[in-house]
Amino acid sequence: MPSQDLKKRAERAREKPASFGPDLDLSVYDPHPRELPKTSLTSLSKEEQRALLEAGIDPLETNRSGSYLQMNRSVVFCQTRAEGLEILSTEEALKRYDWLESQYWWKALEVDEDKYTSFVELNWQRGYFIRALPGVRILRPVQACLFLAEERVAQAVHNIIIVEPGAELHVVTGCLVSPALKSGLHIGVSEFYVKRGGRLSFTMIHNWGEEVAVRPRTATIVEEGGIFLSNYICLRPVKSLQMYPTTYLKGEGSIAIYNNLLLAMPGSSLDVGGRVFLEASGSRAEVRTRAITKGGDIWTRGHLIGMAPNVRAHLECQGLILSPSGLIKAIPELEGRVPDVQLSHEASIGKIAKEEIEYLMTRGLTYEEARAIIVRGFMRIRGEALPQELQRLIEEAVKASTKYLL
């Protein structure tokens, strides 16, 4: 039995520390919270709805193709509003499709990777299953929300996204805590599959809390001609966040692009990377990070592995230090395993250039105004031709967080 085998491997990795980030004591969190009843997005409290909006989740579902809301372990809302789009909990999906377990479940990630993948397998509490059927282009974003609603709860989800051949899908995941709540644990295992000629954009907005620990584990497999675009935004306090999402470009001419936008407030520790295996000829990747510290620590990692001829990839990190304390450490790794690869990286870390502030001051702005404009410009994510609604949503989310920053 394969699942028996998974459990055994998970058991063996129960105490296995991760390669990066502080080692967490998982025993202080409760992985068995009570079930919560089904609800609608608009019957949440005003504060909760505002928090949702700031994480890119629209309670009114305006211009959304569908929604998934999981609070703690419970799927409290799940709805599809587009043809050829499936949104289910992974629990439901495993019951419905027998191929899911054999072809996709723990196929992009290893269950015994570390104690966090192990924790999810041993304490599995659903997660979302989103699938775009072959050839279907769904331009309006699907919104998925993972919500920590009670103190000290551990959320351990296993998500799957499948973009079938020729399909296009845009997913926004907003992860947040209930506004009143401080501490909690979120571990999300996410396995994404972009089939031949498919296109997936995955935008994740993290609005956690000062005492929340977060360990996402994400891997994506992209087939021939497929495109995977990841936007990750974390601009709110978080106690400890560590993730190193990985993409395997297995098909010719496939593409992966990561855009990370990070802010570390005092007391926050962020360790965020992006790793791409360029396994097929003509594949291409970019990992771009913008990191700002206002007193917290940021490690930004990137790892490009060129394994096939005629591949091209670039790592870029720009760091901005806005306070006397705080740390930004950029750790780029380039790995060429065949001759015909083109891998590069560039990184720069510093404070805001004085001459830029002064330049704007000569246009009639005060020092503070000039500084704010430069910081906002720094945070603007380079648009990768995202659908308008998605672009707007990202800008709104960044704007909502900027007020905490400036």
């Binding site: 250039a353 001459e355 830029e356 002064e358 330049y359 704007l360 001051m361 000569t362 246009r363 009639g364 702005l365 005060t366 020092y367 404009i373 430069i374 906002r376 410009g377 720094f378 945070m379 603007r380």
Partner: protein, 248 residues
């Protein structure tokens, strides 16, 4: 007088780069400022606009009768001083269009301006990022046209610009100095003044200056008819300029 500079000594990075400079600019006057590289021309502008690194050690700058010492940069700008940078920095994530709106402090009929300066392609690009020399000048020109200062400080508007673009920049400067620009709801004011720094003097083929000055080693060593200064410099270089001074 619009601008009065009295015995101005300015220190930059621990060294005096301007000594006892005196200069008067009346309303509607255009002055040309010449001088070799490193003479202190840009420093003079920076001191007038009030950048922190350019410390007034001695003397005063009066603008519209107000002593500028201790006045923050943005207030000087509000008072009506506008600076066209010789080497402006690039600003990532800020579109030129947004910067122009800042300059105008309101919505501008930017399109009209932009058409004339052939800048339409750049409006939605990051300010000065990857701009060519000519593009940088034209972007500066757009900004100063949007700012509509009473005193325009133009720092080498023609440097790094090909002949065709010099004509364009020259036209833009004329437009600034003669007529108002279409910033909505703002009165058009004639009688703008300017100081134009020029290393080569080419720009004076397009813009008529009333007076000329030569800055040398941080001091104004000669004030003359601008054409005359230009002729001497073009024919004999700054060395001859100095010799002429020694004779008088």
């Amino acid at each position: 007088m619009l601008l009065q500079i009295r015995d101005l000594t300015v220190e930059v990075a621990g060294r005096d780069v301007l000594h006892d400079v005196n200069l008067d600019i009346g309303p509607g006057e255009i002055h040309a400022l010449f001088g070799p590289n490193g003479a202190g021309k840009t420093s003079l502008f920076m001191a007038i606009i009030g950048l922190e690194d350019y410390k007034v050690r001695k003397g005063r700058i009066l603008f519209k009768g107000k002593d500028l010492s201790g006045m923050p940069v943005y207030e000087r700008v509000k008072l009506g001083i506008g600076l066209f940078f010789q080497r402006p920095p690039a600003i990532r994530g800020l579109k030129l269009r947004q910067l122009l709106e800042i300059c105008c402090r309101e919505k501008v009929d930017i399109d009209k301006l932009v058409f004339e300066l052939a800048m339409a392609d750049f409006l939605d690009r990051d300010v000065n990022y990857g701009f060519s020399g000519g593009e940088v000048r034209r972007a500066e020109l757009l900004q100063i046209l949007a700012l509509q200062p009473d005193l325009a400080l133009l720092d080498e508007p023609e440097s790094g610009v090909d002949l065709e673009n010099i004509a364009l920049v020259g036209r833009g400067i004329n437009r600034l100095l003669e007529r108002g620009m279409p910033c909505k709801d703002r009165e058009t004011r004639a009688q703008r003044s300017a100081i134009i720094i020029s290393h080569t003097g080419y720009i004076l083929d397009y813009v008529d200056a009333d007076k000329g000055h030569v800055l040398y080693n941080g001091t104004i060593v000669c004030s003359e008819e601008p054409r005359k200064i230009l002729e001497t410099i073009r024919k004999y270089g700054y060395e001859e300029c100095m010799r002429c001074l020694r004779r008088t």
